[in-house]
Symmetry: C2
Subunit: 304 residues, 2 copies
Amino acid sequence: MSGALLQCVPNYSEGRRQEVIDSIVAPFKKTAGVHLLDFRADPDHNRLVVTLVGNPGPLQDALLESAAAAIAGIDMRHHAGAHPRIGAVDVIPFVPARGITLEECVPITREFAGRYARETGVPVYLYEAAALRPERRNLETVRKGQYEALVKEIGNPDRAPDIGPPRLHPTAGATVIGARQFLVAFNINLKSRDIGAARDIARKIRASGGGFSHVKAVGIDLENQGMVQVSINVTDYRINPLHEVFALVKAEAAARGIEVAESEIYGLVPADALIAAAAHSLKLADFQPAQVLDLRLLDLLGGD
Amino acid sequence: MSGALLQCVPNYSEGRRQEVIDSIVAPFKKTAGVHLLDFRADPDHNRLVVTLVGNPGPLQDALLESAAAAIAGIDMRHHAGAHPRIGAVDVIPFVPARGITLEECVPITREFAGRYARETGVPVYLYEAAALRPERRNLETVRKGQYEALVKEIGNPDRAPDIGPPRLHPTAGATVIGARQFLVAFNINLKSRDIGAARDIARKIRASGGGFSHVKAVGIDLENQGMVQVSINVTDYRINPLHEVFALVKAEAAARGIEVAESEIYGLVPADALIAAAAHSLKLADFQPAQVLDLRLLDLLGGD
């Protein structure tokens, strides 16, 4: 595998029915030039998160085939789950992985969005670095009120899709496609059934509530596990390190008499995000990523 | 770079004179098939630690050229420093890095030791996995009493070299060569001038004192920094994770009213040693190294 490598983390609105999950993932297992790094279905979120890496061409072919399976298998009119969503194929983010910059991902992403809308008939909103309207850089703005609100509002000029038909797909809703930096999905579970506390803590730590500038968070009820969760997206872990996010959640929970049970990284994480956490906890002074053997080997073996 | 990759971490008894350090390192900068990953000279230890990775053949050629420079530049009769040593080229450990096992490193190491003794006239002791006498698996046994003791005792049958002349090189002493698993050099500095405390803590945490089974440690006075150090080698970080070693040093120091100032990883460290520390401090449940993007890319790019 050489040339530019993109990472892609498509999110699908299905976390429960195994046969639908299998049909969505199948194209990523058989396409040459595409590597399926991780996929996780969450029944509470009723959501499937797939992590891929590959060369742009084969990656996009496989994404379209997978989208066709998701659109055939998911009916948004009957979908329910804890995670915000507007479509069967909810979000397709492209992320620079190796030998490509975020800026170079933008035209590739927009071109793919056009092809996606043409081939599936699903309208597309462009977000983050690929956004055509500045306010749509933010995924939450695009997904405001979720599928149910969009059914009523898609005709309004401020909610018109960027690409494709001006109306929702009858069963698959809409899709958000974009280019962004690596996002770490970092969930912290609390030994509590108090969903209000989880929501308060989420509000406190996120940018919109005056917390960390590159953190998004929501409180989620994990009924099946008898806990609540602060479900966090760290959109720039270099600016807001995981250990600082963890420390603030722990402190806010403690102030409410609640203990942290455990945390979870959902999908992939870049090595340097964990190295920073290790360096902090071990009080490592002057530590350089170049001291990590595997990263040095990657430089030697990976060429440019 | 393909085929078997060895890591090699030669230690030289020179940490102060820049021109000697430069002459030792030079062969590693110019030899094709050898990559100089790291080198650090420590004036307190009066020691140079070099980290290399490469294919076995070129690596061994460069090591011999470098040894010639060290032997020409260092006179053990006038050497002093805080770190135990028996020769100008003190230790040459080979470590499996990729596409090779420790067992496969053993014959390569013994063959190199023969060539080294022939070409330099320096006697060799074989240690760890390459040892010919079981008691010499342990580096400390080989280095007992250091250079000064070996001058008197090398004629004793139990201290006879394994390979090469039965006497010390007139100025360069002897060299220990072996094959081993990755060793993490992890030093913890204490906000104290109490060398007795550092030595007590070192004794407490190491295998020989009833502490961690795969930890070696000594107390060292860092005069230049006004601190003392627990200087630690973790010979199997999977069995004795860095965060557990750190926690015990911290607790033992606290029991003596001493704070940990900072820690240091000397040279390279495998990613999974730091990932384990991060997972512990972030309370990550069910985290897999396969979730680390860079490690997955290394698998994809590195072939077998």
